[in-house]
Symmetry: C2
Amino acid sequence: MNSGQALETLHRIDREYRCLEKAAAVLQWDQETCLPAGGVEERAEQLALLEGIAHERLIDPETGRLLAELGSVPENPRGDRALPEPERDFLRVTRRRYERAVKLPADFVSAAARAGGLSQAAWAGARRANDFASFLPHLETMIDFARKKAAYWGFGNGAGSLYDGLLDIYEPGMSASETGGLFAALRERLVPLLEKISLCPPPDTSFLKQDFPVEQQAAFSQRLMDYLGFDRGRGRLDTSAHPFTTSLGSDDIRITTRYFPDNILSGLFSVIHESGHAFYEMGFPPELRGSCLADGASMAVHESQSRFLENVIGRSRSFWTGCFPLLREYFPRQLKSAGAENFYRAVNEVKPSPVRVDADEISYSLHIIFRFELEKRLIGGELAPEKLPPVWNDYTREYLGLESETVADGVLQDIHWSMGSFGYFPSYALGNLYGLQILKKLKQDIPAYESAVAEGKFSLLYDWLGENIYRWGCRLEPGELLSKITGEKLSVNPFLEYIEGKYSELYGF
Amino acid sequence: MNSGQALETLHRIDREYRCLEKAAAVLQWDQETCLPAGGVEERAEQLALLEGIAHERLIDPETGRLLAELGSVPENPRGDRALPEPERDFLRVTRRRYERAVKLPADFVSAAARAGGLSQAAWAGARRANDFASFLPHLETMIDFARKKAAYWGFGNGAGSLYDGLLDIYEPGMSASETGGLFAALRERLVPLLEKISLCPPPDTSFLKQDFPVEQQAAFSQRLMDYLGFDRGRGRLDTSAHPFTTSLGSDDIRITTRYFPDNILSGLFSVIHESGHAFYEMGFPPELRGSCLADGASMAVHESQSRFLENVIGRSRSFWTGCFPLLREYFPRQLKSAGAENFYRAVNEVKPSPVRVDADEISYSLHIIFRFELEKRLIGGELAPEKLPPVWNDYTREYLGLESETVADGVLQDIHWSMGSFGYFPSYALGNLYGLQILKKLKQDIPAYESAVAEGKFSLLYDWLGENIYRWGCRLEPGELLSKITGEKLSVNPFLEYIEGKYSELYGF
């Protein structure tokens, strides 16, 4: 077999695997948005079966043989240097995925998928019922599966902790100690900033404390998608217990949000956040279509796109200059006496909340940092899951100065652990760092970017992101991508400068 | 291997196959209700892959070996007489399915699935654009696939026509000539009846010719589901271009409808019709769960359930005695001056329509009969697909005395051919026959059934249907089931007696 044929076979296996994953993603999307209560168990069986079949494709021994034939080895995963660059990137990603997969027994993979389905359903029920106990056995199971997974990959045995192995899923090469270092530097400046702000007079937010009917919020969200330039021919918006983005195909990228009649900001900013994820997915170039390279560089880079759109754009003065008049069309009574500047100030109110997705930009990172500490301890076996509710409250008090009121809005607020996604949370805070570091370059290249945002003209922005980020898919590792754009390593400084600049102006110190 | 182990292996293969089919059904449901336009092609690829994998499971040579070991042979498909009855029924169904599947090459199956996905999407577009030409190449492809399928099964070569082979998919053992005989007997009495009625003064339907906002119709449909006793914990209602029912799991049965602001009856009766299908699916007993026996006895028996609920119940005086006040709550302005008796008469107006799903009970069967004639000719190669629009018009004129106005409401009105479901249409008219023949027995067993319907108490009815029909799944062939309930063979008489009795009273002759 020559290298052309070998690559062709690898691509065929990859396409089939991706296709199965997308089919499973349809079942998962449906589970979160549509599934009747009675269907939960059978859906878990269906997903376990699909994941099992996909896993079989992934561990096809042919893949191992072909990788070796093409010169891809652990020390040189990109393989033969004579191959075209995109193929070498394809080999790197294929090798990483193959090595991960062959180390997991098929039984384990399908049992984990089945348990994940049941666990998510139990989480949703427990959250509704504000009942941690009914979720606890599922949480224990998911922790156990996560620990075993990292152990199968060889972590926890000298070459990094079990938790390092989970972090590496989402942020290749990032260790718990590096993450801890960045987070310590963040915490050091964010906690005093939060205290300083708590002494300042708060902005007027009284006009937000009204009834915003859910139907009107849903109608505005559809309008907001159009305003942001979301292509409805390639995606859609639905509601679910926890907002998410999922890609069911290159041209079928779906986002979800949720609405609360007494909190218009929650649903609205989730739409902007998830749109940021969606634009990344929609921006992978046609030549990567259906391939494993049509994916985010890492979860943190993915979160950099969503949190950038949500916060740096969506919570900017420029954005609301253009968008507030639109919002007022949907809520003329509620927003009669408010203006764009009021709204801008109100949506940037720094007021720690027990709920992460409702948190301001400053306390948000602190939410992440304590989740990172907690999951590191859970996976390390230093914290027993049944102790979680009181310990959660201790952390909430220590980091945010808050008392948790319910487990539903406390330890049960996030879906991640119910899915077994330990190691995911840090991505959000790392995403902020990537986003702001990238913004520095963007501002150099497009000085007019703020006025474009004020006019609701986002294509300039998306084009730049497309050229610098989207088009790479996951061809580059996150560090390589950041270095290609900025010439630098990941750092907390651009984010902290942005935060300190924005909030000192807002709070006048 | 003893017979217990052999059966266990067959059941495991069956469960896995069913699970894959349900996963594919989720993708199909999503395609009809949610899929963004851009996702069509990739969805077709996903479905083709899943169908291909399911087909591999189906043709596992182990199945052939185990069937033989258990004594199941073409002459005695139920196998060893010492086995328990349900297992013997399981062998019969497994053999039928296995024999069908092994005769189809895997490439053919996955190509047909892919073409079906594209064809359905093309049909939906063509229908919107009222453009037959853009659908024609897909129709030709689907006819070709259907002909080839029947030929693979050995039809068209002495042992029955190609079309017989397609009919047999939906109504095991029913030939085109038997169907033709029943349909001729129907036509002979329905056409003169239609003419007789056309000379009578029509009922007052003016109050239906108003604006019924789609949102209110959707709200009423949800209420109607509750009124009918639809368990929302085990299913849901959505909208799609063409109403359908699909089972995504034993406890996840979904129905769809569509709404027209100028026609409240269309959406409403589709909800009742599809609920009839759904109750059948929801009524299979727990011991058949996840097995191939948890299915309708045939498509006509399935349609007997939906058309019975839609027409015999849903278009009865008793039903609207109870339900009309509810409907008026949702449309107080539009229905101010109408009463239950007016409504009953109006929904039974005999007025041939070019659209099958809007047809009255008499012309409905005529719609089916000419579709049967047309598809017999298309499959037999006696009618070229490109000739279809004018020939459709000829049939519409001859059977219904109507001129078709558009292809969208003419030859493009039904989804069936776009899916390659040739041989399906007769099930609707045969379903009427089954339904009315079964009703005779139901009335003997439950004399109070009409007053229960008037009070909106349907559980008496569902319990009887459960005991006599649902609980069998497809353990019995349709003829066996009918004979077990009524002791008779399928006949046109109970249906014609019902029709003639009902409409002579309504039209006063």
